[in-house]
């Protein structure tokens, strides 16, 4: 579907299939349209063109309050004038269920999110993490077909975020619901999601499980957006397995790309795949590049080594700090050789 605000297409001829029981993540930079897409599914925006099919029924003309879809807002949107129990019960009251059943389901849900004793508190008396769980409970208690989560962990601190991610995954598996989460945090998307849809400027660039997106991005933009990457520009060789004329010389890859020899392509290598050694390489070893250590960034669990090649371009390598800082493999301004296996590199056409 397509959605325009003014003359800009915020969602541009986008087509997507999400499977039942899937935990799907929409990942992308700010302004890419992922939140708009979520709101289109929830019913707060109307598509300019297109359909939203749930079990074969088009939801586009159905107003938000009639859709079997529930949303968890980034700000949680808890009703400040109602206590926790009343907040969670709100959606059930709209369905007109008998009071006893509502009380029962609310109690069950509060137990599920571990907030049993908080029923009488008001939102302003809760911590950020507790408020988030109330918002989750409020949406889940209605047993929606699809739960939409709009950057649900944006305001949590790192530790809480990690715990909440696993809790969400457990909850989703246990209840067997379809979750669609919107996030700009790639590690979050990769942790929780079965499949990730990477969006840029209103379009879906790649839809695949996390490993595939990371190891086999379909373009430079995805390779660069998800994780860090080194790109070498060159011409595809005759056998389709080599790339000539890059700043690192002749590079070899293991998988043949679908392109004509002679096309200009990029070789993408992730920093953690690169090995550094002081000794010059054995002859016949593929993918060897000489360089000088320009900068070292210590990140605790690993270190990023910025290498400057002969022609001035930069290559980054990430090495885990297995020993202590005193046992660094190399130090500043050292002449080193970089090396990676052919299987670690892939060829990107665009």
């Amino acid at each position: 579907m397509t959605k325009r605000f003014g003359s800009a297409a915020v969602v541009d001829h986008l087509s997507l299939d999400i499977y039942e029981g899937e935990f799907f993540a929409l990942l992308g930079p700010s302004g890419c349209g992922k939140t708009t897409l979520l709101r289109l599914i929830a019913g707060f925006e109307r598509p300019g063109a297109g359909r939203i099919l749930l079990d074969g029924i088009d939801l586009a003309p159905v107003p938000a309050y009639r859709r079997p879809v529930n949303m968890m807002f980034q700000s949680y949107a808890l009703f400040p004038h109602l206590n926790v129990e009343a907040n969670v019960a709100f959606g059930l009251k709209q369905e007109g269920l008998p009071a006893r059943e509502i009380a029962h389901r609310v109690a069950d849900m509060l137990a599920l999110v571990k907030l049993e004793s908080f029923g009488c508190r008001k939102p302003h008396q809760l911590s950020g993490g507790q408020r988030q769980r109330v918002a989750l409970a409020r949406s889940l208690v209605k047993r929606p077909r699809v739960l939409l989560l709009d950057e649900p962990m944006a305001s949590l601190d790192k530790k809480l975020r990690g715990e909440t991610q696993f809790e969400l995954m457990g909850l989703q598996r246990k209840l067997g619901l379809t979750f669609i989460i919107v996030t700009h945090d790639q590690s979050e998307a990769m942790t929780v999601a079965d499949r990730i849809g990477v969006m840029d400027r209103g379009r879906l660039v790649q839809v695949a499980p996390a490993a595939e997106i990371y190891e086999r991005p379909n373009c430079r933009w995805v390779a660069d957006f998800v994780g860090d990457v080194n790109l070498f520009h060159g011409r595809l060789g005759d056998d389709g397995l080599t790339v000539e004329g890059t700043v690192g010389g002749r590079l070899c890859v293991a998988a043949k790309p679908d392109a004509e020899p002679g096309t200009m392509v990029w070789v993408a290598v992730r920093p953690e795949k690169i090995r550094i050694s002081r000794e010059p390489p054995l002859p016949g070893l593929d993918n060897c590049v000489a360089g000088t250590v320009a900068d070292i960034g210590y990140l605790g669990d690993n270190s990023i080594y910025k290498m400057r090649l002969r022609d001035g371009s930069q290559v980054r390598a990430a090495i885990a700090n297995i020993g202590g800082p005193a046992e660094r493999p190399v130090s500043f301004d050292e002449q080193v050789w970089l090396n990676w296996p052919a299987e670690a590199a892939i060829v990107l056409m665009r």
Partner: protein
């Protein structure tokens, strides 16, 4: 933070300003207890002017009329003003919005003689008998603009994701309004109601133009007495009104503080 330190000049300005505001009223209350008829002569403490008030039937009548009038027009203004505020804030650019907004903001500053005169001429033109209801209509019209401004500023700050959440949970737009929006803007509406009440109780000019026989409001009666000079009975009446209003405003403010709101919203335009 050094900037937050209250300088002597600032403190002096505040103290002088606030003293200036209260001095006349304080003096008024003191003189209402003056046993002597003349202001210049202090005759000792006495409550005779207050006791004489009770016997003054027309005065008591006027007070009751003013009270009923204020109650009616404040409530009507609260309803109309809230509707207008909703339209201005939520309906985006609709046809005729400019005229609508102009009609809302103009009465806030328009001199009362003009609005009073124009309404009287309207009532005469459609041959309606002037009395309680014509004044009520006039007061409602004036007050609803104040209500709109107050409720509008509350609505502008309103977190619309709360309404979206309610709709997402299955509440129709009407139910969303009644169970989420309205409870949360109620403090602003209440404050606006109080303002409309005070404006109606206080008004002299518009009431003079639009009233008829049998609907003499308290300000009209007070004015007819005092334009000829100071009268001690009037001191007593005025002191009572000051007391009632003062207690009401302070009570409302305390209530607001207790319920966690940000105090009595000032008449901020």
């Amino acid at each position: 933070m050094t900037m937050r330190r209250v300088s002597a000049f600032n403190l002096a300005a505040i103290v002088v300003g606030i003293a200036f505001l209260y001095l006349p009223i304080v003096l008024l209350v003191i003189y209402s207890f003056n046993a002597s008829r003349l202001v210049a002569v202090w005759g000792g403490w006495s409550t005779r002017w207050y006791t004489e008030l009770v016997d003054d039937a027309p005065l008591v009548d006027s007070a009751l009329i003013s009270f009923r009038l204020a109650l009616t027009s404040a409530t009507a203004a609260a309803v109309l003003g809230t509707l207008a505020a909703l339209a201005l804030v939520r309906f985006g650019r609709f046809r005729g919005r400019l005229l609508f907004a102009a009609m809302i903001y103009a009465p806030l500053v328009m001199p009362e003689v003009i609005t009073g005169l124009s309404l009287l001429l309207l009532f005469v033109a459609i041959a309606v008998d002037r009395g309680f209801w014509t004044v009520a209509i006039a007061h409602t019209t004036m007050a609803m603009c104040f209500v709109t401004v107050i409720v509008q500023s509350r609505l502008v700050d309103f977190d619309t994701s709360l309404e979206e959440a309610a709709m997402d949970l299955g509440a129709s737009p009407l139910r969303t309004f009644l169970s989420v929006t309205l409870p949360l803007i109620l403090p602003a509406i209440a404050a606006a109601w109080m303002l409309a009440f005070a404006l109606s109780l206080d008004d002299l000019v518009i009431a003079s133009f639009t009233t008829g026989p049998g609907a003499t409001t308290l300000p009209i009666r007070i004015y007819s007495e005092v334009r000829l000079g100071v009268k001690p009975e009037m001191n007593a009446v005025c002191s009572i009104m000051v007391g009632v209003v003062g207690i009401a405003v302070i009570a409302a403010s305390l209530l607001a503080k207790l319920s966690g709101a940000r105090g009595v919203p000032a008449r901020v335009r």
